[in-house]
Protein backbone atom coordinates (compact mmCIF):
# COMPACT_ATOMS: atom_id res chain seq x y z
CA UNK A 1 0.00 0.00 0.00
CA UNK A 2 2.99 2.33 0.46
CA UNK A 3 2.83 3.58 -3.12
CA UNK A 4 -0.82 4.48 -2.77
CA UNK A 5 -0.17 6.73 0.18
CA UNK A 6 0.15 9.98 -1.78
CA UNK A 7 -3.35 9.53 -3.16
CA UNK A 8 -4.84 8.50 0.18
CA UNK A 9 -3.25 11.49 1.94
CA UNK A 10 -4.48 13.88 -0.73
CA UNK A 11 -7.99 12.44 -0.48
CA UNK A 12 -8.02 12.41 3.32
CA UNK A 13 -7.32 16.14 3.51
CA UNK A 14 -10.42 16.83 1.41
CA UNK A 15 -12.60 13.88 2.51
CA UNK A 16 -11.88 12.94 6.15
CA UNK A 17 -14.62 10.28 5.98
CA UNK A 18 -12.56 8.04 3.63
CA UNK A 19 -12.38 4.37 4.63
CA UNK A 20 -9.36 2.38 3.49
CA UNK A 21 -9.16 -1.42 3.28
CA UNK A 22 -5.80 -2.58 1.89
CA UNK A 23 -7.06 -6.13 1.28
CA UNK A 24 -9.96 -4.91 -0.85
CA UNK A 25 -12.35 -7.36 0.84
CA UNK A 26 -15.35 -5.99 -1.03
CA UNK A 27 -13.48 -5.45 -4.27
CA UNK A 28 -12.12 -1.95 -3.66
CA UNK A 29 -9.34 -0.43 -1.59
CA UNK A 30 -10.96 2.83 -0.53
CA UNK A 31 -14.46 4.25 -0.30
CA UNK A 32 -15.71 7.79 0.23
CA UNK A 33 -19.19 9.11 0.93
CA UNK A 34 -19.65 12.61 -0.44
CA UNK A 35 -22.28 15.20 -1.23
CA UNK A 36 -23.51 15.98 -4.75
CA UNK A 37 -21.68 19.29 -5.10
CA UNK A 38 -18.35 17.65 -4.18
CA UNK A 39 -18.29 15.20 -7.10
CA UNK A 40 -16.61 17.40 -9.78
CA UNK A 41 -13.85 18.30 -7.33
CA UNK A 42 -13.35 14.68 -6.32
CA UNK A 43 -13.27 13.54 -9.96
CA UNK A 44 -10.66 16.21 -10.81
CA UNK A 45 -8.52 15.10 -7.89
CA UNK A 46 -8.68 11.45 -8.98
CA UNK A 47 -7.94 12.43 -12.57
CA UNK A 48 -4.84 14.37 -11.49
CA UNK A 49 -3.65 11.31 -9.61
CA UNK A 50 -3.91 9.17 -12.74
CA UNK A 51 -7.04 7.13 -12.05
CA UNK A 52 -9.35 5.94 -14.82
CA UNK A 53 -13.13 5.79 -14.62
CA UNK A 54 -14.34 2.20 -14.52
CA UNK A 55 -18.08 2.84 -14.39
CA UNK A 56 -20.87 4.82 -12.75
CA UNK A 57 -24.12 3.29 -11.62
CA UNK A 58 -27.02 3.95 -9.26
CA UNK A 59 -28.94 1.97 -6.65
CA UNK A 60 -32.53 2.79 -5.75
CA UNK A 61 -32.84 2.88 -1.97
CA UNK A 62 -34.90 4.72 0.61
CA UNK A 63 -35.01 7.73 0.92
CA UNK A 64 -33.50 8.49 -2.51
CA UNK A 65 -31.24 6.91 -5.15
CA UNK A 66 -27.54 6.62 -4.50
CA UNK A 67 -24.89 7.06 -7.19
CA UNK A 68 -21.82 4.81 -7.10
CA UNK A 69 -18.63 5.75 -8.99
CA UNK A 70 -15.85 3.19 -9.50
CA UNK A 71 -12.33 4.36 -10.36
CA UNK A 72 -9.21 2.28 -10.95
CA UNK A 73 -5.50 2.98 -11.17
CA UNK A 74 -3.78 0.96 -13.88
CA UNK A 75 -0.38 0.54 -12.25
CA UNK A 76 -1.60 -1.58 -9.33
CA UNK A 77 -5.37 -2.01 -9.87
CA UNK A 78 -6.01 0.23 -6.88
CA UNK A 79 -9.79 0.70 -6.80
CA UNK A 80 -11.74 3.49 -5.19
CA UNK A 81 -15.50 3.86 -4.86
CA UNK A 82 -17.41 7.10 -4.37
CA UNK A 83 -20.90 7.01 -2.86
CA UNK A 84 -23.17 9.92 -3.48
CA UNK A 85 -26.75 10.19 -2.21
CA UNK A 86 -28.84 12.02 -4.81
CA UNK A 87 -30.15 15.29 -3.30
CA UNK A 88 -33.83 16.20 -3.04
CA UNK A 89 -33.86 18.18 -6.30
CA UNK A 90 -32.80 14.95 -8.09
CA UNK A 91 -29.90 16.76 -9.79
CA UNK A 92 -26.20 15.91 -9.63
CA UNK A 93 -23.33 17.74 -11.38
CA UNK A 94 -21.96 15.86 -14.39
CA UNK A 95 -18.29 14.81 -14.49
CA UNK A 96 -18.32 14.36 -18.29
CA UNK A 97 -16.06 17.42 -18.64
CA UNK A 98 -13.33 15.67 -16.64
CA UNK A 99 -13.88 12.04 -17.62
CA UNK A 100 -15.38 12.11 -21.11
CA UNK A 101 -16.47 8.48 -20.80
CA UNK A 102 -18.84 9.50 -18.00
CA UNK A 103 -21.24 11.05 -20.51
CA UNK A 104 -22.69 7.69 -21.56
CA UNK A 105 -22.87 6.35 -18.02
CA UNK A 106 -24.78 9.45 -16.96
CA UNK A 107 -27.17 9.18 -19.90
CA UNK A 108 -27.82 5.56 -18.97
CA UNK A 109 -28.47 6.44 -15.32
CA UNK A 110 -30.70 9.30 -16.48
CA UNK A 111 -32.98 6.97 -18.42
CA UNK A 112 -32.89 4.05 -15.95
CA UNK A 113 -33.34 6.05 -12.74
CA UNK A 114 -34.61 9.46 -13.80
CA UNK A 115 -31.65 11.28 -12.26
CA UNK A 116 -30.72 14.60 -13.91
CA UNK A 117 -27.08 15.56 -14.47
CA UNK A 118 -26.45 19.28 -14.63
CA UNK A 119 -23.88 20.64 -17.09
CA UNK A 120 -24.11 17.46 -19.19
CA UNK A 121 -23.23 17.78 -22.92
CA UNK A 122 -26.47 16.06 -24.05
CA UNK A 123 -28.70 14.15 -21.69
CA UNK A 124 -30.75 12.14 -24.19
CA UNK A 125 -31.63 8.45 -23.86
CA UNK A 126 -28.79 6.02 -24.64
CA UNK A 127 -30.19 2.49 -24.63
CA UNK A 128 -33.94 3.10 -24.52
CA UNK A 129 -36.02 4.70 -27.26
CA UNK A 130 -37.50 8.19 -27.17
CA UNK A 131 -40.97 6.68 -26.70
CA UNK A 132 -39.78 5.05 -23.48
CA UNK A 133 -38.91 8.41 -21.92
CA UNK A 134 -39.77 8.48 -18.24
CA UNK A 135 -40.00 4.69 -17.97
CA UNK A 136 -37.13 4.46 -15.43
CA UNK A 137 -37.10 0.64 -15.44
CA UNK A 138 -34.67 0.23 -12.54
CA UNK A 139 -36.69 2.21 -10.02
CA UNK A 140 -38.26 -0.16 -7.49
CA UNK A 141 -41.81 -0.09 -6.22
CA UNK A 142 -42.32 0.99 -2.61
CA UNK A 143 -42.95 -2.55 -1.36
CA UNK A 144 -39.59 -3.73 -2.75
CA UNK A 145 -37.61 -0.71 -1.61
CA UNK A 146 -34.93 -1.13 1.07
CA UNK A 147 -33.49 1.68 3.11
CA UNK A 148 -29.94 2.76 2.44
CA UNK A 149 -28.35 1.43 5.63
CA UNK A 150 -29.77 -2.08 5.07
CA UNK A 151 -28.11 -2.78 1.74
CA UNK A 152 -25.28 -0.30 1.09
CA UNK A 153 -23.10 -1.70 3.84
CA UNK A 154 -19.42 -0.74 3.60
Amino acid sequence: MHHTDALIIALRTVFPSITVSPEAERGWHAAIALAAEQIPGAASLLFEHGLALSFITAVHVRPRCELVYHFVRWEDAFRIVLHLPVPENNTVPSIAEIYHGAAWHEREIGEFFGIVFSNHPGLKPLLLTREEKGLCPLLRSDSLLQSRENVLIW
Partner: protein, 377 residues
Protein backbone atom coordinates in the same frame (compact mmCIF):
# COMPACT_ATOMS: atom_id res chain seq x y z
CA UNK B 1 -26.63 3.71 -46.10
CA UNK B 2 -28.42 6.97 -46.73
CA UNK B 3 -26.89 10.32 -47.56
CA UNK B 4 -28.26 13.71 -46.65
CA UNK B 5 -26.67 16.97 -47.76
CA UNK B 6 -26.68 20.13 -45.73
CA UNK B 7 -24.71 23.28 -46.26
CA UNK B 8 -23.39 25.48 -43.51
CA UNK B 9 -21.93 28.95 -43.84
CA UNK B 10 -18.80 29.43 -41.76
CA UNK B 11 -17.56 32.74 -40.38
CA UNK B 12 -14.58 32.80 -42.72
CA UNK B 13 -16.84 33.10 -45.74
CA UNK B 14 -16.81 30.07 -48.05
CA UNK B 15 -19.59 27.57 -47.87
CA UNK B 16 -18.54 24.14 -46.60
CA UNK B 17 -20.61 21.17 -47.45
CA UNK B 18 -21.14 18.73 -44.68
CA UNK B 19 -22.64 15.38 -45.49
CA UNK B 20 -24.36 13.17 -43.00
CA UNK B 21 -23.96 9.50 -43.68
CA UNK B 22 -25.80 6.84 -41.80
CA UNK B 23 -23.89 3.58 -41.28
CA UNK B 24 -25.94 0.71 -39.93
CA UNK B 25 -27.75 -0.38 -37.83
CA UNK B 26 -27.32 -3.39 -40.12
CA UNK B 27 -23.98 -3.08 -41.82
CA UNK B 28 -21.17 -5.63 -42.16
CA UNK B 29 -18.55 -3.26 -40.78
CA UNK B 30 -20.43 -2.50 -37.56
CA UNK B 31 -20.14 -6.07 -36.19
CA UNK B 32 -23.59 -6.12 -34.72
CA UNK B 33 -26.56 -3.84 -34.62
CA UNK B 34 -24.75 -0.54 -34.27
CA UNK B 35 -25.68 2.69 -36.00
CA UNK B 36 -23.20 5.47 -36.64
CA UNK B 37 -24.26 8.95 -37.72
CA UNK B 38 -21.19 10.30 -39.46
CA UNK B 39 -20.66 13.91 -40.45
CA UNK B 40 -18.39 14.05 -43.50
CA UNK B 41 -16.49 16.69 -45.42
CA UNK B 42 -15.66 14.90 -48.63
CA UNK B 43 -14.08 11.68 -47.40
CA UNK B 44 -13.00 13.19 -44.10
CA UNK B 45 -14.91 12.41 -40.93
CA UNK B 46 -15.94 15.51 -38.98
CA UNK B 47 -18.04 13.82 -36.32
CA UNK B 48 -19.24 10.39 -35.28
CA UNK B 49 -22.26 9.75 -33.15
CA UNK B 50 -22.79 6.09 -32.21
CA UNK B 51 -26.42 5.14 -31.66
CA UNK B 52 -26.70 2.04 -29.49
CA UNK B 53 -29.41 0.09 -27.74
CA UNK B 54 -30.84 -1.93 -30.65
CA UNK B 55 -30.01 -5.13 -28.81
CA UNK B 56 -30.90 -3.87 -25.34
CA UNK B 57 -32.52 -6.62 -23.24
CA UNK B 58 -32.21 -5.08 -19.76
CA UNK B 59 -30.12 -7.85 -18.24
CA UNK B 60 -29.74 -5.80 -15.07
CA UNK B 61 -33.50 -5.75 -14.56
CA UNK B 62 -33.64 -9.51 -15.12
CA UNK B 63 -30.89 -9.93 -12.51
CA UNK B 64 -32.93 -8.23 -9.82
CA UNK B 65 -36.18 -10.03 -10.67
CA UNK B 66 -35.16 -13.68 -10.16
CA UNK B 67 -32.96 -15.81 -7.88
CA UNK B 68 -29.27 -15.36 -8.60
CA UNK B 69 -28.88 -18.89 -10.08
CA UNK B 70 -31.38 -18.06 -12.82
CA UNK B 71 -29.15 -15.24 -14.04
CA UNK B 72 -26.28 -17.61 -14.87
CA UNK B 73 -27.32 -18.18 -18.53
CA UNK B 74 -27.69 -14.40 -19.00
CA UNK B 75 -23.98 -13.90 -18.36
CA UNK B 76 -23.23 -15.82 -21.57
CA UNK B 77 -25.51 -13.64 -23.65
CA UNK B 78 -23.78 -10.30 -23.42
CA UNK B 79 -20.32 -10.92 -24.85
CA UNK B 80 -21.31 -13.91 -26.98
CA UNK B 81 -17.85 -14.18 -28.55
CA UNK B 82 -16.10 -14.55 -25.19
CA UNK B 83 -18.72 -15.34 -22.58
CA UNK B 84 -16.80 -17.46 -20.07
CA UNK B 85 -14.99 -14.48 -18.44
CA UNK B 86 -18.43 -12.97 -17.74
CA UNK B 87 -19.57 -16.19 -16.12
CA UNK B 88 -16.29 -16.48 -14.22
CA UNK B 89 -16.75 -12.95 -12.92
CA UNK B 90 -20.36 -13.42 -11.85
CA UNK B 91 -19.73 -16.71 -10.04
CA UNK B 92 -16.53 -15.48 -8.36
CA UNK B 93 -18.51 -12.51 -7.08
CA UNK B 94 -21.25 -14.74 -5.65
CA UNK B 95 -18.69 -17.16 -4.19
CA UNK B 96 -16.75 -14.40 -2.49
CA UNK B 97 -19.91 -12.83 -1.19
CA UNK B 98 -21.19 -16.07 0.31
CA UNK B 99 -17.77 -17.38 1.40
CA UNK B 100 -17.77 -20.49 -0.82
CA UNK B 101 -14.30 -21.90 -1.49
CA UNK B 102 -13.67 -23.30 -4.96
CA UNK B 103 -11.44 -26.42 -5.21
CA UNK B 104 -8.08 -25.73 -6.95
CA UNK B 105 -8.79 -28.23 -9.73
CA UNK B 106 -12.01 -26.40 -10.59
CA UNK B 107 -10.16 -23.07 -10.80
CA UNK B 108 -7.61 -24.63 -13.16
CA UNK B 109 -10.40 -25.98 -15.37
CA UNK B 110 -12.01 -22.53 -15.35
CA UNK B 111 -8.75 -20.90 -16.42
CA UNK B 112 -8.26 -23.40 -19.27
CA UNK B 113 -11.82 -22.87 -20.52
CA UNK B 114 -11.55 -19.08 -20.27
CA UNK B 115 -8.24 -18.99 -22.15
CA UNK B 116 -9.58 -21.27 -24.90
CA UNK B 117 -12.53 -18.91 -25.16
CA UNK B 118 -10.16 -15.95 -25.38
CA UNK B 119 -8.27 -17.57 -28.28
CA UNK B 120 -11.55 -18.30 -30.10
CA UNK B 121 -12.63 -14.69 -29.57
CA UNK B 122 -9.35 -13.22 -30.83
CA UNK B 123 -9.50 -15.48 -33.90
CA UNK B 124 -13.02 -14.30 -34.64
CA UNK B 125 -11.84 -10.71 -34.31
CA UNK B 126 -8.80 -11.26 -36.50
CA UNK B 127 -10.84 -12.70 -39.36
CA UNK B 128 -13.57 -10.08 -39.13
CA UNK B 129 -11.11 -7.18 -38.80
CA UNK B 130 -9.24 -8.20 -41.95
CA UNK B 131 -12.54 -8.68 -43.73
CA UNK B 132 -13.31 -5.03 -42.89
CA UNK B 133 -10.05 -4.08 -44.54
CA UNK B 134 -11.01 -5.98 -47.67
CA UNK B 135 -8.93 -9.11 -47.14
CA UNK B 136 -11.15 -12.12 -47.58
CA UNK B 137 -8.63 -14.95 -47.17
CA UNK B 138 -7.61 -14.65 -43.49
CA UNK B 139 -11.12 -15.22 -42.11
CA UNK B 140 -11.11 -18.68 -43.68
CA UNK B 141 -7.89 -19.57 -41.86
CA UNK B 142 -9.14 -18.00 -38.61
CA UNK B 143 -12.45 -19.84 -38.69
CA UNK B 144 -10.64 -23.08 -39.44
CA UNK B 145 -8.64 -22.65 -36.22
CA UNK B 146 -11.58 -21.28 -34.25
CA UNK B 147 -13.59 -24.32 -35.25
CA UNK B 148 -11.06 -26.52 -33.43
CA UNK B 149 -11.47 -24.47 -30.23
CA UNK B 150 -15.24 -24.53 -30.55
CA UNK B 151 -15.17 -28.32 -30.94
CA UNK B 152 -13.14 -28.63 -27.72
CA UNK B 153 -15.43 -26.22 -25.89
CA UNK B 154 -18.52 -27.98 -27.25
CA UNK B 155 -17.18 -31.29 -25.99
CA UNK B 156 -16.49 -29.73 -22.60
CA UNK B 157 -19.48 -27.43 -22.09
CA UNK B 158 -22.14 -28.80 -24.42
CA UNK B 159 -22.44 -25.61 -26.45
CA UNK B 160 -20.51 -24.00 -29.29
CA UNK B 161 -21.22 -20.47 -28.11
CA UNK B 162 -23.12 -19.10 -25.07
CA UNK B 163 -21.45 -21.74 -22.92
CA UNK B 164 -22.94 -22.23 -19.46
CA UNK B 165 -20.12 -24.28 -17.99
CA UNK B 166 -19.26 -22.88 -14.57
CA UNK B 167 -21.32 -23.68 -11.49
CA UNK B 168 -21.33 -22.25 -8.01
CA UNK B 169 -18.28 -23.69 -6.25
CA UNK B 170 -16.79 -25.31 -9.35
CA UNK B 171 -17.46 -26.42 -12.90
CA UNK B 172 -19.94 -28.68 -14.66
CA UNK B 173 -17.51 -31.28 -16.02
CA UNK B 174 -13.94 -32.42 -15.56
CA UNK B 175 -11.18 -32.23 -18.16
CA UNK B 176 -10.37 -35.91 -18.61
CA UNK B 177 -7.42 -37.40 -20.51
CA UNK B 178 -9.35 -37.38 -23.76
CA UNK B 179 -10.15 -33.67 -23.49
CA UNK B 180 -6.63 -32.85 -22.32
CA UNK B 181 -5.16 -34.62 -25.33
CA UNK B 182 -7.46 -32.75 -27.67
CA UNK B 183 -6.40 -29.46 -26.12
CA UNK B 184 -2.71 -30.45 -26.44
CA UNK B 185 -3.27 -31.37 -30.06
CA UNK B 186 -4.89 -28.01 -30.71
CA UNK B 187 -1.98 -26.23 -29.02
CA UNK B 188 0.51 -27.98 -31.29
CA UNK B 189 -1.53 -27.05 -34.33
CA UNK B 190 -2.10 -23.44 -33.24
CA UNK B 191 1.58 -22.82 -32.45
CA UNK B 192 2.41 -23.77 -36.02
CA UNK B 193 -0.22 -21.41 -37.37
CA UNK B 194 1.27 -18.17 -36.11
CA UNK B 195 3.96 -18.24 -38.77
CA UNK B 196 1.17 -18.53 -41.36
CA UNK B 197 -0.60 -15.49 -39.87
CA UNK B 198 2.61 -13.52 -39.77
CA UNK B 199 3.30 -14.21 -43.42
CA UNK B 200 -0.29 -13.63 -44.43
CA UNK B 201 -1.02 -10.55 -42.34
CA UNK B 202 1.77 -9.09 -40.19
CA UNK B 203 4.18 -8.66 -43.07
CA UNK B 204 1.53 -7.78 -45.63
CA UNK B 205 2.33 -4.35 -47.01
CA UNK B 206 -1.31 -3.48 -47.71
CA UNK B 207 -2.27 -4.38 -44.15
CA UNK B 208 0.60 -2.28 -42.76
CA UNK B 209 -0.39 0.71 -44.90
CA UNK B 210 -3.98 0.42 -43.75
CA UNK B 211 -3.18 0.15 -40.02
CA UNK B 212 0.24 1.68 -39.20
CA UNK B 213 -0.20 5.10 -37.52
CA UNK B 214 -3.96 4.89 -38.08
CA UNK B 215 -6.31 5.43 -35.12
CA UNK B 216 -3.70 6.36 -32.52
CA UNK B 217 -5.14 6.18 -29.01
CA UNK B 218 -3.06 8.08 -26.49
CA UNK B 219 -2.92 6.88 -22.87
CA UNK B 220 -4.62 10.14 -21.88
CA UNK B 221 -7.57 9.49 -24.19
CA UNK B 222 -7.82 5.90 -22.96
CA UNK B 223 -7.98 7.17 -19.38
CA UNK B 224 -10.64 9.79 -20.05
CA UNK B 225 -12.88 7.16 -21.63
CA UNK B 226 -11.93 4.23 -19.42
CA UNK B 227 -10.64 2.01 -22.22
CA UNK B 228 -9.28 -1.38 -21.13
CA UNK B 229 -8.06 -4.63 -22.66
CA UNK B 230 -6.03 -4.84 -25.88
CA UNK B 231 -7.28 -1.34 -26.81
CA UNK B 232 -5.47 0.05 -23.77
CA UNK B 233 -2.48 -2.29 -23.94
CA UNK B 234 -1.90 -1.32 -27.58
CA UNK B 235 -1.17 2.17 -26.23
CA UNK B 236 1.64 0.86 -24.07
CA UNK B 237 -0.19 0.51 -20.73
CA UNK B 238 0.35 -2.97 -19.27
CA UNK B 239 -2.96 -3.12 -17.39
CA UNK B 240 -4.29 -6.66 -17.24
CA UNK B 241 -6.50 -7.70 -14.31
CA UNK B 242 -5.00 -11.20 -14.46
CA UNK B 243 -1.63 -9.64 -13.61
CA UNK B 244 -2.39 -6.57 -11.49
CA UNK B 245 -5.10 -8.16 -9.36
CA UNK B 246 -4.69 -11.93 -9.83
CA UNK B 247 -7.91 -13.86 -9.27
CA UNK B 248 -8.79 -17.54 -9.60
CA UNK B 249 -5.58 -19.51 -10.30
CA UNK B 250 -3.77 -16.88 -12.38
CA UNK B 251 -1.19 -16.34 -9.65
CA UNK B 252 0.17 -19.84 -10.38
CA UNK B 253 1.11 -19.17 -14.00
CA UNK B 254 3.86 -17.14 -15.57
CA UNK B 255 2.83 -15.18 -18.65
CA UNK B 256 3.62 -11.85 -20.27
CA UNK B 257 1.31 -8.91 -20.82
CA UNK B 258 2.08 -7.77 -24.39
CA UNK B 259 1.87 -4.04 -25.05
CA UNK B 260 2.23 -1.80 -28.08
CA UNK B 261 4.25 1.38 -28.39
CA UNK B 262 2.31 3.68 -30.73
CA UNK B 263 -1.30 2.86 -29.89
CA UNK B 264 -2.36 2.48 -33.52
CA UNK B 265 -4.46 -0.23 -35.20
CA UNK B 266 -1.33 -2.24 -36.02
CA UNK B 267 -0.25 -2.30 -32.36
CA UNK B 268 -3.67 -3.51 -31.28
CA UNK B 269 -3.38 -6.29 -33.86
CA UNK B 270 0.07 -7.30 -32.60
CA UNK B 271 -1.12 -7.27 -28.99
CA UNK B 272 -4.02 -9.63 -29.71
CA UNK B 273 -1.90 -12.06 -31.73
CA UNK B 274 0.69 -12.16 -28.93
CA UNK B 275 -2.10 -12.62 -26.37
CA UNK B 276 -3.20 -15.79 -28.13
CA UNK B 277 0.32 -17.16 -27.69
CA UNK B 278 0.29 -16.17 -24.02
CA UNK B 279 -3.08 -17.90 -23.57
CA UNK B 280 -1.60 -21.09 -25.04
CA UNK B 281 1.25 -20.70 -22.56
CA UNK B 282 -1.21 -20.44 -19.65
CA UNK B 283 -3.22 -23.45 -20.86
CA UNK B 284 -0.04 -25.51 -21.17
CA UNK B 285 1.01 -24.71 -17.60
CA UNK B 286 -2.50 -25.38 -16.29
CA UNK B 287 -2.69 -28.80 -17.99
CA UNK B 288 0.78 -29.64 -16.76
CA UNK B 289 0.19 -28.79 -13.11
CA UNK B 290 -3.50 -29.58 -12.80
CA UNK B 291 -4.09 -30.55 -9.16
CA UNK B 292 -6.12 -33.67 -8.41
CA UNK B 293 -9.33 -33.46 -6.42
CA UNK B 294 -12.91 -32.34 -6.58
CA UNK B 295 -14.26 -30.21 -9.41
CA UNK B 296 -17.11 -28.80 -7.33
CA UNK B 297 -17.31 -27.79 -3.69
CA UNK B 298 -20.28 -29.10 -1.70
CA UNK B 299 -22.69 -26.17 -1.50
CA UNK B 300 -26.00 -25.82 0.32
CA UNK B 301 -29.19 -26.19 -1.71
CA UNK B 302 -30.35 -22.66 -1.12
CA UNK B 303 -27.82 -19.87 -0.97
CA UNK B 304 -28.92 -16.47 0.24
CA UNK B 305 -26.87 -13.42 -0.55
CA UNK B 306 -25.93 -11.64 2.69
CA UNK B 307 -26.88 -7.94 2.80
CA UNK B 308 -24.09 -5.72 1.54
CA UNK B 309 -22.23 -4.71 -1.58
CA UNK B 310 -19.28 -6.15 -3.44
CA UNK B 311 -17.60 -5.95 -6.84
CA UNK B 312 -15.40 -8.36 -8.77
CA UNK B 313 -13.32 -7.79 -11.89
CA UNK B 314 -11.82 -10.17 -14.43
CA UNK B 315 -9.96 -9.75 -17.71
CA UNK B 316 -12.24 -10.57 -20.62
CA UNK B 317 -11.07 -10.78 -24.22
CA UNK B 318 -12.03 -7.13 -24.72
CA UNK B 319 -10.97 -5.69 -21.40
CA UNK B 320 -12.03 -5.39 -17.82
CA UNK B 321 -15.35 -7.01 -16.94
CA UNK B 322 -16.75 -5.94 -13.57
CA UNK B 323 -19.88 -7.12 -11.80
CA UNK B 324 -21.13 -4.95 -8.94
CA UNK B 325 -23.63 -6.54 -6.56
CA UNK B 326 -25.87 -5.01 -3.93
CA UNK B 327 -27.66 -7.68 -1.89
CA UNK B 328 -30.39 -7.44 0.74
CA UNK B 329 -30.19 -10.90 2.36
CA UNK B 330 -32.59 -12.72 0.01
CA UNK B 331 -31.58 -15.05 -2.83
CA UNK B 332 -32.30 -12.34 -5.42
CA UNK B 333 -29.75 -9.56 -6.03
CA UNK B 334 -31.04 -6.15 -4.99
CA UNK B 335 -29.01 -4.58 -7.79
CA UNK B 336 -26.50 -6.02 -10.23
CA UNK B 337 -24.46 -3.76 -12.49
CA UNK B 338 -22.45 -5.20 -15.37
CA UNK B 339 -19.47 -3.16 -16.52
CA UNK B 340 -18.68 -4.22 -20.06
CA UNK B 341 -15.36 -3.19 -21.64
CA UNK B 342 -16.76 -2.46 -25.12
CA UNK B 343 -18.99 0.26 -23.69
CA UNK B 344 -15.94 2.40 -22.92
CA UNK B 345 -13.97 1.21 -25.96
CA UNK B 346 -16.71 2.28 -28.39
CA UNK B 347 -17.27 5.57 -26.58
CA UNK B 348 -13.85 6.91 -27.56
CA UNK B 349 -14.49 6.56 -31.32
CA UNK B 350 -16.36 9.88 -31.09
CA UNK B 351 -13.13 11.70 -30.38
CA UNK B 352 -10.72 9.31 -32.11
CA UNK B 353 -12.53 9.33 -35.45
CA UNK B 354 -12.53 13.10 -35.95
CA UNK B 355 -10.42 14.16 -38.91
CA UNK B 356 -9.88 10.65 -40.24
CA UNK B 357 -10.55 9.40 -43.71
CA UNK B 358 -13.74 7.36 -43.80
CA UNK B 359 -11.91 4.15 -44.72
CA UNK B 360 -9.48 4.65 -41.82
CA UNK B 361 -12.42 5.12 -39.46
CA UNK B 362 -13.75 1.70 -40.52
CA UNK B 363 -10.29 0.20 -39.89
CA UNK B 364 -10.16 1.85 -36.47
CA UNK B 365 -13.65 0.69 -35.57
CA UNK B 366 -12.65 -2.85 -36.49
CA UNK B 367 -9.48 -2.63 -34.39
CA UNK B 368 -11.54 -1.93 -31.26
CA UNK B 369 -13.01 -5.47 -31.35
CA UNK B 370 -16.57 -4.49 -30.52
CA UNK B 371 -19.29 -6.90 -29.50
CA UNK B 372 -22.42 -4.79 -29.60
CA UNK B 373 -24.74 -6.97 -27.44
CA UNK B 374 -22.24 -6.46 -24.65
CA UNK B 375 -22.63 -2.70 -24.95
CA UNK B 376 -26.42 -2.83 -25.20
CA UNK B 377 -26.80 -5.45 -22.47
Amino acid sequence: MGVAVRSTKTESGPIHYRYFMNVGPQHPSTHGVLRLIIGLYGEYVLSIEPVIGYGHRMHEKMAQSRPWQAFLPNTARMDYACCLPHQHCYLSLIEQHTGIKVPPRAEYIRVIAVELNRIASHLLWLGAFLLDLGAFTPILYCFDDREEVLDILENLTGARITHCFFRIGGVLADIDDHSANRIREFMRRMRGRFSVYHKLVTENIIFIKRTRDIGIITPDMARRYGATGPVLRGSGIAYDVRKQQPYSAYRDFSFDVPTGSRGDCYDRYLVRVEEMQQSLCIIEQALERMPAGEIRAPVPRTIRLPAGQRSFSVEGARGEVTYYLVADGTDTPYRLKVRSPCYANLNLIQELGQGMLFADMIATLGSLDLVIPEIDR
